[in-house]
Symmetry: C2
Subunit: 238 residues, 2 copies
């Protein structure tokens, strides 16, 4: 999510190969050059694909002079998104059936990448399995990947670019709570990361574990508030 | 939706063959034998398929002694669901590519059928393109077809089998409002039908037109109430 104050990322940790094969895995990864750039990547889709993308991006950052292209050497966030997109597409296509497009592949995945490089604005991108991407802007200030529908209405209704990071976390917890209640493929723990605009030294992060007291207070409070709100709406009469 | 008091049906009227080809069509159809039975059918999916299903069911009701099987002569709601399911499957398969299953067909559709026959309980069924079906019960008291996700969380949270018809209409309006805001393929007018348990003479119905004052008051009231509810949730602190 893009705010005036910076970028907010939230991802769950549930992954599955069918409802009888469920595991926990972190879907958020950050790269950080203190004082110069901060980049966060979130993934949805085939886990082998997304882990391969992260590993490849990671390897190339370790000896930047030898392993190009590196997202830590890219001159802009647009260049970072291009590198990430090409890496994703290459991995999806390598495992593809012949004649199949990247979007139809069993190995497809989608990514959200965002961050800021000193001297430029914070930018946020949604990357498709084909490797192309779109950027968040004033009219589309947030992206979702994976199970996007259950949690979308409350964000659409309540997003405000001027909101505080604290309020955005509350909003995203409500959104994730709706999704978790509806889809067994999404669950706590949830990872949170915040890039404050022009702050290249500290990345605030937090994991909400199962039974996290704050997340529970939001989930319970929201359930109760919705019941009250519904009761207070004008009654229908035939 | 199955309530202690009877059955509640709600459907929108938007149909499309791509975002550049949008029309309005009623997706709800009822059959009524005063004093004996009342049946309501709702449809989602390929419009040619669902209209053919309704036309076939309808034709067979016109001279029941000649045109079997008729849903007006079926001895139970289970038999009604079986007839509707077989009609649906036959139409989907007739237009199918060879070797394709009904669920994979471009011409697939899903149906919800419910009603009551004198001497038996009200019953509600969800019918798949293959013609098989499941029945609503205490653990799964409502069905959705078409765009099911955006509007689901509020129903899951607030459904109560003991609720009044009036409260169920309010709840369904909130659910449809969330869906309409998120998916351009769903829109007003919305049709409502209510079967009161053991009442075989009156079927209450109502169409909520665009700019319907009640629907607007619910939509606006809900947007406002959610904003207040969110603000009142406990604040997050790092």
């Amino acid at each position: 999510m893009r705010l005036n104050k910076g970028l907010v990322f939230m991802s769950d940790t549930r992954t599955n190969a069918g409802v009888d094969d469920i595991s926990q895995v972190r879907k958020m990864r950050s790269w950080h050059v203190p004082g110069e750039r901060v980049i966060t990547l979130m993934s949805a889709g085939n886990l082998a694909t997304t882990q391969a993308v992260v590993s490849l991006l990671d390897e190339r950052t370790k000896a930047p002079e030898e392993r190009h292209p590196s997202i830590l050497a890219a001159p802009s966030m647009f260049a970072v998104a291009t590198i990430v997109g090409e890496t994703l597409r290459n991995i999806v296509m390598r495992h593809n059936d012949e004649g199949q497009s990247a979007a139809d592949s069993l190995f497809r995945a989608s990514l959200i990448v965002g961050g800021q490089i000193k001297g430029a604005e914070p930018r946020l991108f949604l990357i498709y399995p084909e490797g192309n991407f779109i950027e968040a802007g004033e009219d589309n200030p947030f992206f979702q990947i994976g199970e996007t529908k259950y949690g979308r209405p409350i964000i659409v209704r309540s997003y405000d670019p001027a909101m505080s990071f604290e309020d955005s976390v509350k909003l995203l917890c409500v959104s994730f709570d709706s999704t978790i209640r509806a889809n067994a493929g999404v669950d706590l723990p949830i990872d949170l990361k915040i890039h404050e605009r022009d702050d290249f030294t500290t990345v605030r992060e937090r994991r909400f574990e199962r039974n996290d007291p704050y997340f529970e207070s939001v989930a319970n409070g929201w359930a109760e508030a919705l019941g009250i709100a519904l009761a207070e709406l004008p009654d229908f009469h035939f």
